[in-house]
């Protein structure tokens, strides 16, 4: 699941950073195949954002979050050029993380 995160972080005049993320993930719902066998769900359970080694935002997700999830929120007290680390972990133990530079 490498390179699954695409993000943009833009700071405005008031010092508020708008972070937008797009994650490439199937977010598969639990379902049954033609033979009635349960096919397990596969979805991101947790997503975190950290700035200066401080976790500033955490999301806990269920199966109802759409495929290739989108997430946006605001970060305070950061400055241009700072890096925000984004990491996720899914219910199968897979994970990925990436850095987004504030512009």
């Amino acid at each position: 699941m490498a390179n699954s995160i695409r993000g943009r972080a833009e700071i405005n005049a008031d010092g508020v950073t708008h972070i937008r993320l797009l994650i490439n993930h199937p977010m598969a719902l639990e379902r049954r195949d033609a033979g009635g066998q349960v096919i397990a769900a596969h979805f991101i359970e947790e997503i975190k954002a950290s700035h200066n080694n401080e976790v500033v935002f955490q999301g806990l997700w269920g199966q109802a979050v759409s495929q290739n999830p989108y997430l946006s929120f605001q970060l305070l007290g950061a400055k241009k050029g700072d890096r925000v680390t984004i990491g996720w972990r899914d219910n199968k133990g897979e994970s990925d993380n990436a850095e987004v530079t504030i512009s």
């Binding site: 946006s72 605001q74 990491g87």
Partner: protein
């Protein structure tokens, strides 16, 4: 029953922690981060979810919370939702889809360094109310909801 659920939760939380990859575990958890609450995510009614997450505390409708979502979702599998609030000291933002088989969609924890609006996209099985609950530092729960009609395409597209 409650006790049992919580012990299961605690056990699960332990499991999840072990499964955390090194890269994530390295991040210093400044605030007490919540573990993934399995029982709440599996619950099929709002009451159960509230019971699990907020131990049955009362939820008040509030004008200080805005839930933005389309009146008509053209595609139930990608419904954009934004939660905005003028409240100070927001601790968590929780989003529920009351008629989905699993009611709890997402819960976000904010710190003093992050803020709403929080936007994401969710799946709606059918026309229903989407509910946002904002929990503030004082422990109060503020709610807003919005009915989203899931439209069916005429030609099946």
């Amino acid at each position: 029953m409650q006790t049992h659920r919580r012990s299961v939760l605690r056990a699960l939380a332990g499991l999840l922690f072990v499964r955390l990859p090194a890269s994530l575990a390295l991040l210093a958890p400044l605030r007490a981060l919540a573990a993934w609450p399995k029982a709440a995510f599996d619950a099929s009614s709002s009451a159960d979810v509230l019971d699990q997450l907020f131990k049955g505390k009362t939820v008040q409708s509030s004008d200080a919370v805005q839930l933005e979502a389309p009146d008509i979702a053209e595609n139930g599998s990608v419904v954009p939702v934004t939660v905005q609030t003028s409240l100070k000291g927001v601790k968590t933002v929780t989003v529920l889809a009351e008629q989905n088989p699993r009611v709890l969609v997402a819960q976000y924890s904010l710190s003093a360094r992050s803020a709403a609006p929080v936007s994401f996209r969710l799946r709606l099985g059918k026309t229903q109310d989407v509910v946002a609950i904002v929990e503030t530092e004082d422990g109060k729960l503020h709610k807003a909801s919005k009915n989203v009609k899931v439209s069916l395409g005429g030609c099946g597209g």
